[in-house]
């Protein structure tokens, strides 16, 4: 009888299990996990491993002194890095448009005229016969005074067709006008609105969006533009699509541009071929080029370009982590994902935001790290127990995953981790082929964070792993699926009408962004799809014979990201057309998708002893 502990040091998590082995029989007594300490495969791992083992022993009701041997996996020497680069930029070269969406604009319809300062109107500097005017009202003017002056001007015969206000009082003003006009308010930088220029103000009916100012030919009609001028203002129209109110001021030479920032080219070196691809072409083109040069030996970015800097950054971080010289770091896989980043528009007047396109890259780096023996030795020192370095990680993962009820070979195991999505295919008993695809849970967190403008990584992680709810009153929330949950005591006022993430332990984390629940949910699910659905297919194709996924019978999902409440579902959806059974692993019928490698180490140890 032997008390054995299996230990798996992953990039993020170290897992352990305790088993009693007698001849060919094995009884599992407990398991545990802890965060990995240090870079996987280096001496600092010992701390985390010690913690995981201690947890497992506690669960088993055993002590370290009773342990006969610790089995440790031969860690794969791959680690992953992330980078992101914005490839478009929106600039308003002169103040031509205000496309922001105040919550409470005033009036309704379209007003066209020449911009005039409120003061000038108050001083009667505009004569009855003059052109129609758009009045620009600064914050110093009270709404009653504003209405008084506008009404007086109209009474004198001045055509007042719209207004732009700095304070949040458009409705207050509009409600007091004898003849209602459209008013856009909350224009923070109202003093920058050029005066004496042709301008148009449009406010749509509630629930609708502006029609004239969001249409190039509508702008052409309003400002009597030539075809050439129309072409120049087309980006203004595009930027205003979907807003409920808008102002466009026609300044000579004023312009909005939609600039593509040259991001540079990526050079993919394969064993047999080489391909250069323009990053501005987007993720699909990069992944397409990658498919053509597989197997990949390295990736370099054009020197001096954005992507060059981006890849150099990845290489340096990796070199720092591993202690390898920068020039020996080789990139063995990349995953590109199209994304977008909300950025304040340069030259805007009311803090307008534009969604800029960006490309995110995850890269997989093979390192020349020292052997695992170093960790093994340190672990023996720390525990006083013999440490046996066992089989290859992928084989152990397969062996552990196969303890899931209902599985059999040919089986593919997909380890959905933090940095990489690892596939291992076992057709018969021993031949295991593997692929390490760059990109996993960490990239999902990063995409969610940047697309929603959330800087705090922990918050982005909450958005990733928790269902959402909308706080509809101080006493109830509406969950993602529409059901309502009631509370006896008031929720914090700052969560009111906000979207919150519901943590597993019943907590409620407010998400401080202005998007609605559904938008946040879509960002979350799209990010998961772009990473895990894409990578599952990609990794399975790499390990499958002739790239044919249909030949695989069972796909078992393991790893931390398989614990997610929707990632397994999204992966199953992506594999639905390939005739495989896909589900989340349930290691030893009790562990769920955790502990596969640690369990595989024990299984393989037992088998070898029986065979010996």
């Amino acid at each position: 009888m032997n008390l054995i502990v299996g230990v798996d040091i992953g990039n993020s998590t170290t897992e352990a299990c305790v088993a009693m082995v007698e001849g060919g029989d094995v009884a599992y007594l407990g398991s545990g996990l802890a965060a990995t300490t240090g870079v996987k495969g280096t001496a600092p791992n010992v701390t985390g491993a010690g913690r995981a083992i201690a947890h497992a022993l506690r669960a088993a009701g055993r002590a370290m002194e009773e342990v006969d041997a610790i089995l440790l996996n031969e860690a794969t020497p791959v680690i992953s890095g992330l980078a992101m680069e914005t490839i478009t930029e929106t600039i308003i070269t002169e103040s031509t448009m205000i496309g922001h969406n105040p919550q409470t604009p005033g009036g309704e319809g379209l007003g066209v005229g020449v911009t005039v300062a409120f003061d000038a109107l108050a001083r009667q500097a505009v004569a009855p016969g003059d052109d129609a005017v758009i009045c620009v009202i600064p914050a110093s003017v009270d709404f009653e005074e504003a209405a008084l002056v506008l009404n007086a001007a109209v009474a004198r015969g001045v055509a007042v067709s719209g207004a732009i206000a700095q304070r949040d009082d458009a409705r207050l003003i509009a409600n007091r006008l004898a003849q209602p006009i459209p008013i856009v308010d909350e224009v923070t930088l109202v003093e920058r609105v050029p005066l004496g220029m042709a301008a148009a103000v449009e406010v749509a009916a509630p629930g609708r969006t502006v029609r004239t100012l969001a249409n190039s030919y509508g702008l052409a009609t309003v400002f009597e533009l030539t075809p050439e001028e129309t072409r120049v203002v087309a980006p203004v129209a595009r930027a205003l699509m979907g807003t409920r109110s808008a102002v466009v001021v026609r300044t000579p030479g004023g312009d909005v541009t939609d600039r593509r920032i040259p991001a540079g080219t990526l050079e993919l070196h394969g064993e047999r071929a080489k391909k250069a691809v323009d990053v501005n072409g987007g993720a699909a083109e990069i992944m397409d080029a990658l498919r053509r040069v597989q197997p990949l030996t390295d990736v370099v970015g054009e020197a001096g370009s954005h992507v060059g800097g981006m890849l150099a950054g990845v290489r340096e971080t990796m070199a720092d982590l591993t202690g390898d010289p920068v020039d020996t770091v080789r990139i063995r896989d990349v995953l590109a994902a199209d994304t977008f980043v909300p950025r304040e528009v340069r030259g805007g007047l009311a803090g307008e935001f534009a969604l800029e396109n960006a490309v995110a890259l995850a890269a997989m780096v093979r390192t020349s790290r020292g052997p695992i023996e170093q960790v093994a030795r340190a672990l023996t020192e720390a525990t006083g127990v013999e440490v046996i370095v066992g089989g290859v990680e992928a084989e152990m993962a397969v062996r552990g995953a196969l303890t899931t009820p209902g599985t059999a070979t040919p089986v593919a195991v997909l380890d959905l981790g933090g940095g990489s999505t690892d596939a291992a295919l076992a057709l018969g008993d021993d031949e295991v082929s593997t692929y390490h695809a760059a990109g996993a849970g960490d990239l999902v967190t990063k995409l969610i964070g940047s697309e929603l403008g959330i800087e705090d990584r922990e918050l982005a992680e909450h958005v990733k792993t928790c269902p959402l709810a909308k706080v509809e009153s101080l006493f109830h929330v509406r969950l993602e699926d529409g059901t309502v949950q009631y509370f006896e005591t008031a929720l914090p006022a700052e969560t009111f009408a906000r979207v919150v993430a519901l943590t597993e332990d019943g907590g409620m984390v407010p998400i401080p962004v202005s998007h609605g629940l559904d938008r946040i949910r879509r960002v979350r699910r799209d990010a998961k799809r772009r990473v895990f659905a894409v990578n599952a297919l990609r990794a399975l194709r790499e390990v499958a014979q002739h790239g044919n996924v249909r030949g695989i019978d069972f796909v078992v999902l393991i790893g931390g990201s398989a614990l997610d409440f929707e990632i397994p579902e999204l992966v199953a959806e992506a594999l639905a057309d390939h005739g495989v059974v896909c589900g989340t692993g349930n290691v030893r019928a009790v562990e769920g998708p955790r502990n596969a490698v640690a369990t595989g180490l024990v299984e393989s140890y037992v088998r070898e002893r029986v065979l010996a």
Partner: protein, 110 residues
């Protein structure tokens, strides 16, 4: 005591009506507070609605069960059922009181 609850004002009744209405609310997970009252079902339902912190009230007397909201004209309750009645319909009245609070589509009366 001011927790969020539907107010259920009861002037009289045979107990079955009260039990069914409360069961409907309980199944939906919305708290309710039962208070003895004097008057006809419509009037006490309106009063219950006006005082309930979630602005939904139910009134029960020997003849009627009424569901009311403070925004409605006092003599026009949203729902009015005979109090001695098919239990399923009284249960559904409780469900609907709760659904008004939760913002869920109302149940059709069976």
């Amino acid at each position: 005591m001011s927790g969020p609850a539907v107010f259920l004002h009861v002037a009289a009744g045979d107990g079955t009506a009260l039990r069914e209405v409360r069961a409907g609310l309980e199944e939906e997970g919305v708290p309710c507070r039962v208070i003895a009252a004097v008057g006809d079902a419509v009037a006490i339902a309106y009063n219950a609605a006006c005082t309930s912190p979630v602005s939904v009230g139910i009134g029960l007397d020997a003849d009627l069960a009424c569901l009311h909201l403070p925004q409605l004209p006092p003599d026009e309750p949203l729902l009015r059922l005979p109090a001695v009645h098919v239990p399923e319909r009284l249960r559904a009245l409780g469900h609907n009181a709760a659904r008004l609070v939760k913002g869920a589509p109302l149940k059709e009366l069976p």
